[in-house]
Symmetry: C2
Subunit: 223 residues, 2 copies
DNA sequence: AGAATAGTGTCTGTCAGACAGTATCGC
DNA sequence: GCGATACTGTCTGACAGACACTATTCT
């Protein structure tokens, strides 16, 4: 493996977030092999130029093969690189962030993984392998900045097909970890191009009926 | 070069911006070698794991060796990747953005470069090599979003050591390519932690003297 | 009736854009 | 005085946070 010094290793890591019991969670895997065996890490893997169209494809393939998850939308966060961040040699790691509803993620242990589980995004409770603590910090920062700055479109990826505005607000609150005023929230998203009111469809309960919404077709991100 | 299919090529490209005659300019090089010989491109080069500490070092080294420019601050924009974006094989290119005062850039033709010159950032007037037109578009978008959103700290990299608020405003206007109200601009940057008033130092001219400022020590970016 | 949640009205402070006004220089 | 630029005061409209209020359902 002399090539390692001439050609860097190219990895992809994914910070997959979801809301679990009103808290922002991140999906971690326990590594089954060296290096960093038994340590927890963000799911990730190595680029395979012969089968990947680009690094996003790599990320999707890795998530499929390691934790059986299909990721619709990925967002690049940052690139990490250097000779010492991975013991196998000079490496480049491109970090992606993603959001998915908790119940859509049927995380299953696959190859090279001992366990898969959700952890609190702000304090996973484990030392992470490699420089993944940095990765997680950066992914969190980008995610929260997005939700705060641009109107709260992003968490739409976390919603089920039909949802109420209150549910959307609670999701935002869980991500930001602080309460949001109801009136202000509704003013801000009022008339948002990607929110479609399902006229006539209401959610019932032991209270006034709540208007249901869905994500409009063609919803995409792109800054 | 069978390795090309196993190990991707890792490049770094740099979109170096400056204000030239009240317009936002970008530094381009004309390639002296295949591929894309004679075409204009963003300055860039290949990672050398044996001498680079990380990809930012690669970017600095490349700018030094190809166009004789020292870059103090680099910002990662995006990663481009795939089998076809460069004829030499499966490649990854990490794009960085940078700002530097026009007169500090003593761009000199060095190895693998025929010419170096500044072009209008919005319409360079040349078809760019590889996917560098995309690169330029993304770098521009990130740069302008930064200046608009976060308070206008960024263009501080474009200022000489001492400058007036009017000069800073004109720089912002050149980057955004639209006028800014003077009072609003001054209100926004008033008391900014990185702006230091040089009490007593004034710029004279055929008009009222203008207060000089400088960038406070320890100025850094970090979102 | 009472609990719970949905949804709205309104006050207030902040801030950006717009624009005009005053101040200070060289000539 | 005149031209030019520096700098400030103020009005207005947009908008977010705070908070209270009404409305509608189930039990």
């Amino acid at each position: 493996m002399k090539n390692i010094t001439l050609f860097p290793l190219v990895f992809v890591d994914v910070a997959l977030f979801s809301v679990v019991e009103d808290r922002l969670g991140v999906l971690l895997v326990q590594r089954a092999q060296e290096p960093a065996q038994h340590q927890w890490a963000l799911p990730g893997g190595i680029l395979k130029p012969e089968i990947d169209d680009n690094l996003e494809s790599t990320a999707r393939r890795v998530m499929r093969s390691k934790v059986s998850v299909e990721i619709p939308h990925l967002e690049e966060v940052q690139t990490f690189s250097g000779p010492n961040r991975d013991p196998r040699g000079w490496s480049v790691s491109v970090l992606y962030g993603a959001l998915l509803p908790y119940d859509q993620v049927n995380a299953v242990v696959r190859n090279k993984v001992e366990k898969v589980d959700w952890f609190d995004a702000d304090s996973p409770g484990h030392a992470l392998a490699f420089d993944h603590a940095n990765h997680l910090t950066m992914a969190l920062r980008v995610l929260r900045n997005r939700i705060r700055a641009s109107s709260p479109t992003l968490p739409l990826h976390l919603m089920p097909e039909k949802f109420t505005l209150t549910e959307l607000q609670k999701t935002c609150q869980s991500i930001l970890d602080k309460p949001i005023d109801k009136a202000a929230f509704r003013r801000r998203i009022d008339g948002h191009p990607f929110l479609e009111k399902l006229t006539g469809e209401m959610q019932r309960g032991a209270h006034a009926p709540a208007q249901l919404y869905r994500v409009r077709d063609g919803f995409a991100f792109d800054v």
